[in-house]
Symmetry: C2
Subunit: 461 residues, 2 copies
């Protein structure tokens, strides 16, 4: 018999103080405003229904810029402006067909794919990953369509981690298959959800490879095809798509700010991305992040909070296929010598918020974790070192701590980049809770900072 | 300037040990089985589609008993049996109409309501609560239909708490209105979701009051009616329903167990309720709890776990309108002198699990909280003193600690007791994570107990 002394978890929490009470009250006001008088849901409805899908370079993306500028101006923040961003302009064609043995499958051309230049027809070879290509060898791949059928790993609790584990087959599948002489690529959609909707997303070509077309198959079609190939290995696949890449266009990041009352030259940036894929309505990806960000700034203004630092809401353009909005923002900040206290991003959907991850120093992680007790009543429990976000990522080289809002992710990839990423699949209260959580974190960062020299002491005025 | 020393949260966690590793591995196996080879989703599909809605006393409830018995027998647990339970038998009529100024509204007769005995037509008086009835007085209520329009409080993060805050108008609205001479009752559905589906649920009559019919209005209709009454206070409401209460019937709790390997006379009971309301398919309420419970027992068997105590899965009958299954189970346990280590319940939906609440002593709360580190990788964060469950509630007088699984509750009342509580509104992975979480908690309770004299020491064999 082994006797183990189990120490009960001891939490040494803040002793109640005036300051904590004040914070509790302010955060309660933030949630009340979001849940009772919130604008997030109606704003998302308008973005999804009045603007719709809005891929960089498209007329809808330009409409989204106008939509956002007008909305932000209506809230009478201290300043609203557009920051020019050069964006790629890929266009899905009016022909988008692929199938097997003459029977159509539910597909989406991957973003960035070349046209098939007429119909390609070829045998199909199924693989799980790039390593398998090498094992099979050129003689078994040349002239064929390669079918990457690696599913997202069900065992992983984080669907984001499961996505990360197989997204390279989408991004690099065409280049890797092309090296062995393949003529086209089928990629299983990145999703756990077995429906008929294929999921698009970005792909690219390595320099020097022959560019071959790449399409995503719905999960149902991927499973059907895999079963079919076991029975009939010589089945003939076909791809007929006429997507194309046009010259770059000019677009914009849309920015609004409330000027800091004490140190206006120091900035807290927070945002989501205004562009989306050209399917569905970009509701979770990233309409939710857009309205979370707008709502956070609106709420903080509405409750009369006077920020110490300048609060800047940035709606980034072109996260989906280039991240030029994020890169441009960071470059402009560097050029102007702007000082960022922190950057926050919401780009993980409009689902019920679970907490935040921070890409920063150990001290910054601890600083964020010191706020747990204030946010626990709102069922925010996850405060960990981790991912910030794509749009704010380029600020990292300026040593800006990056914070990502973490909504629950079980349903996120069901809709991601597919026809079902629509307003109706966003839940009102979940969206509102996300906006309030985002605003509460911005409030705390503004009030206490995330100084990398944080040593356990906070100076309150 | 005030200088506050903020102590960083210090967690004194278990030092890694063989035992913790063993627990981690076992819990990992539980989640793997649920997520990769799980039966919960298919079992729920079958319960919803092959059986359907199953109110106590209905033929479908009896079909559910057969369904569960057969399923449990198929898993070859040590023992499967039926425990007789006498249940009420209320039947919704084939006439179910209510409206205003001759225009139909979307309604559901509340469970337990009497028939209107033909069509009632009367002016409508809107109130928020019982106190308002007293203020308004008999002269303004007599002969009218009382419309209880108190919404669930949006500010509350817990929708369960918001539900708890206004459910008394559903349960007691008719009796309270009847005392002032009302002829019928409209009750705003208990939901945050503004759709056209009315939500039923149980109501009762106090002794001695005239029994008047009570119907729930959909949220859209409640809001329409409230607006209409501001414009046209003399609007005429009508109710025409012919529900009735028939003699009690005999039904069953369905029970399966795996016998304990060390102390088989001590029992850990866990379950959900097999009955549902007679609308929708009882998918979240409580098909989810039923399949969580079955799946937990199946998983623990499948991974080869040998429980110390007897693990007993109980599918209770009649939670919705009487709780006779729960009462009978506790009475039988008492009569037989059975010793229960703990009772666990899943009756809060099939949504992503957030943690557990425990209705027990402070020591039992701490014992449960001591397992947090093992469950955090599965995003279970909520370990608090709180509600166990309705079915297991009657065991409390035998001093059994009661544990409730806590799925996220933002969407629960959208579907609760309405036509939309169907299989399609349950998410596969969320359901599976719930089943695995339930199984993991059962495993930990079995391995370590919840002894009320728990003093920070655990004895491991």
């Amino acid at each position: 018999m082994i006797r183990v002394v189990l120490l009960l978890s001891l939490f040494i929490v803040f002793s109640p103080s005036f300051s904590q009470n004040e914070d509790s009250l302010e955060i309660r006001k933030i949630f009340d405003e979001a849940l009772v008088e919130g604008h997030a849901y109606e704003n998302l409805r308008s973005l999804c229904k009045d603007v719709g899908a809005r891929l960089s370079g498209s007329p809808e993306a330009e409409k989204a810029v106008e939509w956002a500028k007008e909305l932000l101006e209506g809230y009478q923040f201290d300043k609203v402006w557009l920051m020019p961003v050069s964006v790629p302009h890929w266009v899905r064609g009016d022909i988008e067909e692929a199938g097997v043995n003459g029977k159509a499958m539910s597909i989406k051309t991957l973003g960035g794919s070349v046209s098939s230049n007429g119909k390609i027809e070829a045998e199909i070879i199924e693989v799980q990953d790039f390593e398998e290509l090498e094992k099979i060898g050129q003689e078994n791949i040349e002239g064929k369509i390669v079918f990457f059928n690696r599913p997202m790993e069900k065992r992983l609790i984080s669907t984001g981690e499961a996505y990360g584990g197989c997204v390279k087959q989408r991004w690099g599948g065409a280049s890797n298959a092309s090296k062995y002489g393949a003529v086209g690529v089928f990629v299983r959609s990145m999703s756990h959800h077995k429906d008929k909707h294929a999921h698009t997303g970005s792909m690219g070509y390595e320099e020097g490879v022959d560019k071959i077309p790449a399409v995503a198959l719905s999960i149902q079609d991927a499973e059907m095809l895999s079963a079919l190939l076991k029975e009939k290995p010589n089945s003939l696949g076909y791809i007929h798509v006429n997507s194309e890449t046009l010259p770059d266009k000019q677009s914009y990041n849309v920015i609004a700010e409330i000027r800091g009352s004490q140190e206006p030259d120091k900035i807290i940036t927070f945002g989501g991305h205004l562009d989306s894929w050209d399917v569905g309505e970009g509701a979770h990806d990233d309409g939710a992040g857009v309205v979370h960000s707008i709502e956070a700034l609106r709420i903080l203004k509405e409750i009369g909070y006077k920020p110490r630092y300048t609060l800047r809401c940035v709606l980034f353009m072109n996260e989906e296929n280039g991240n030029n909005g994020g890169k441009t923002y960071a470059a402009v900040a560097k050029e102007k010598g702007e000082v960022h206290i922190a950057a926050l991003e919401s780009d993980a959907g409009g689902f019920v918020p679970r907490g935040f991850t921070i890409d920063g120093t150990e001290e910054q992680v601890m600083q964020m974790q010191s706020w747990q007790a204030l946010l626990k009543p709102y069922r925010l429990h996850l405060f960990e070192k981790g991912w910030g976000g794509v749009d704010i990522g380029p600020l990292k080289e300026q040593n800006v701590p990056l914070i990502g809002l973490r909504p629950d992710d079980q349903r996120y990839f069901d809709h991601h980049h597919s026809d079902t990423d629509v307003f109706e699949n966003v839940h009102k209260r979940e969206l509102e809770l996300g906006a309030a959580s985002f605003a509460a974190m911005i409030y705390l960062v503004d009030k206490y900072g995330l100084d990398s020299s944080f040593n356990g002491e906070i100076i309150l005025d």
